[in-house]
C-alpha cells in the first residue's frame, strides 16, 4: 500500500513538472524554427534578423547605456511611458464601464437607453478615431489615453452587463429573504455573482489596451514602446521592431497575470469562482 501511494505521488509530481513546462512549448518551438530558418538563409536577414541578433539588440535596448547605440538603454523610459498610458486609459474604462455595465445588466430601462448607442459605437474600428483624436487632443499622451480608454471600455461594459444579467436570481432572492437591502445586495451578492464575467471583461479590456497603445503611439510621440517600433521602421531597424513586439507580448502577458493575481487577492469571489 505504501508503495502504491509512493507511486501515485511520483506520478502526480511528474505530471506537475510536465504541466509547468507546458506553456513554454510553443514559444520554444517557435524560437527553434526561427533559428533554423535564419541559419539556412531561407528568410533573408533584412526581413527577419537572426534570433541572436535580436537578443543582442534587446539586451542593449534594455540594459545598455544611453548614447552607446541609437536605441540603447531606452527601455525603462519607453516602458514607463507606455505603462502610464495603458494604466490611465484602462482605469478610465474600468471607472466608466464597470458601473455602467452592472447597472445596464440589472435595469432594462438603462440597458435600452444605452445599448443602441454603445453597440453602434462599438462597431466603429478604433483606428478611425485616430484622426479625430489627433485633432481634438493633439499629438501626445491624451490621444493615446483616449484611444486606450475607448477600446477597453466596450469589453468591460459588455461583460459586466452580461454578468449582472446572468447572476442566479435565487441568490438575489436568498439575499432579500435574509434581509439584505439594495446596497449590501449589490456589493455582497450582485458583484461577486457577476465576478467571472467581470474578470473576463477586465482581461479582454486590458489586452485590447495594449493593442491600442501602439496605435496611439504611432502618432509621433517621442517615447513609448509603440513609438520606438514606428521610429525603428523609419530607420529600417527591423531588429528593434521585433524587440518591441516581444517586449509588448511579455509585458502584456505579465500585466494580465498581475491583473488576475490582484483581483484574486482583493476579492473572495475572484479567488474562489473564477
Amino acid at each position: 500500500m505504501k508503495k502504491e501511494s509512493w507511486a501515485m505521488q511520483d506520478a502526480s509530481t511528474q505530471k506537475r513538472g510536465f504541466n509547468a513546462f507546458l506553456p513554454y512549448i510553443i514559444p520554444a518551438a517557435f524560437l527553434i524554427i526561427w533559428m533554423l530558418v535564419s541559419e539556412s538563409g531561407l528568410i533573408p536577414n533584412y526581413l527577419l534578423p537572426h534570433p541572436l541578433e535580436i537578443g543582442k539588440t534587446g539586451y542593449a535596448y534594455i540594459f545598455g547605456k544611453q548614447g552607446e547605440a541609437p536605441y540603447a538603454g531606452r527601455f525603462l523610459s519607453d516602458a514607463g511611458a507606455s505603462l502610464v498610458r495603458v494604466g490611465m486609459g484602462f482605469a478610465a474604462a474600468v471607472v466608466l464601464g464597470l458601473p455602467l455595465g452592472i447597472v445596464s445588466g440589472r435595469l432594462s430601462r438603462v440597458q435600452k437607453f444605452f445599448s443602441t448607442t454603445i453597440n453602434a459605437l462599438r462597431a466603429v474600428p478604433g483606428i478611425t478615431w485616430l484622426p479625430l483624436a489627433m485633432v481634438w487632443f493633439g499629438i501626445g499622451i491624451k490621444t493615446t489615453v483616449f484611444l486606450v480608454g475607448l477600446a477597453a471600455f466596450f469589453p468591460i461594459y459588455l461583460n459586466a452587463a452580461a454578468g449582472a444579467t446572468q447572476v442566479n436570481p435565487l441568490l438575489l432572492q436568498a439575499g432579500a429573504m435574509m434581509g439584505v437591502r439594495r446596497i449590501r445586495g449589490t456589493f455582497a451578492i450582485l458583484l461577486p455573482g457577476a465576478m467571472p464575467h467581470i474578470m473576463t471583461g477586465l482581461r479582454l479590456g486590458l489586452g485590447v489596451s495594449w493593442a491600442y497603445l501602439v496605435l496611439g503611439e504611432l502618432t509621433g510621440v517621442p517615447n513609448g514602446l509603440g513609438a520606438v517600433i514606428m521610429d525603428a521602421r523609419m530607420l529600417g531597424r527591423i531588429d528593434i521592431i521585433v524587440v518591441g513586439i516581444i517586449i509588448i507580448a511579455v509585458i502584456g502577458r505579465f500585466s494580465d497575470q498581475l491583473l488576475q493575481a490582484s483581483m484574486r487577492f482583493c476579492f473572495k469571489s475572484a479567488r474562489r469562482i473564477c
Binding site: L170, A174, M177, S269
Partner: protein, 263 residues
Amino acid sequence: MKTHLKAVPAPRHGRKQSILEISGLRKVFEVNGSFHTVLEDINLRAEGGELICILGRSGCGKSTLLKILAGFIPSSSGALHVKGKPVIHPGSDRCVVFQEDALFPWLTVRENIAFGLKGKGMGKKAFKKEVDRYLSLVGLSEFENYVPGDISGGMKQRVALARVLILKPEVLLMDEPFVSLDAQTREEMQNLLLSIWSVLAHTIIFVTHDVNEAVTLADRILIMGNDPGRIKEEIRIGLPRPRKRETREFLELSRRLHEYLRD
C-alpha cells in the same frame, strides 16, 4: 380500528398564538393575454411551533404559494399576515430553504451561515459564538472552511438550513428542500430537521410532493389539488414521533394520502 387520521376544522380556540394567517388568497397569472388561476381561496392558520406540510403534485401551485408567503411575488387578492403584520416584501421573519442550491458559491460554509447575521450590530465574540453554534447544530463544524462547490448536496442543504435558522425567523418556509437528495440522505435530513425543530420549535411550512416525507414530518398535512390550486383536504397526523415507516399506521396513512392525491 383506532385511526390517526382525522379531518380538522380550523381551530377556533387555539391555545397557542397564531403566527401565520392566510385568508382568501388567490393568485392569477397572465399568460399571453389570457388569465390562469393558479391558487384559489387558500386559507391557513399556523400556530407557533407547528410543522405543516403542504402536499401536492407537480404544478398544483404549492411552490407559488410558498413564494407568495416569502414575499417574492405578490398575491392577486386575499390577506396574508405574519404575527399580525401584512406580508409585502421578503424579510428575515420568513426564511426560505430553496429546492435548488442557493448558497453563495464564493463564500465558505461558515461565511454562508454568517451572511444574514452580518450588520446586525453583534459583538465580534458573540457573533463567532453564534455562528459556531449553528455550524455544530447542523453538524458541519469540521467543514466550515469548505466552499459549496466542494461539499455534497446534503451538506449544502444543511448550510441552507443553518443560514436561515441563525436569523430566528418566525416562519421557516421549505420548498421541497430534500427532493434532489438520495433516499438515505433525505431521511437523514428529515431526522435532522425534526431534531432541530424539537429544540428550536420554529413554525415550519414544508412543501413536498412526497407522501412519506409529509407523514414523517407533519403535525398537519394540507393536500392541494390541481387547477386551480386549492386546499382539498386538511389532515392532522397524531402519530407519535419518531415515526417508523414500517408501522401499520404509517403505511395506512400513506396509502390514504396517495388516494387523496390521485383524485
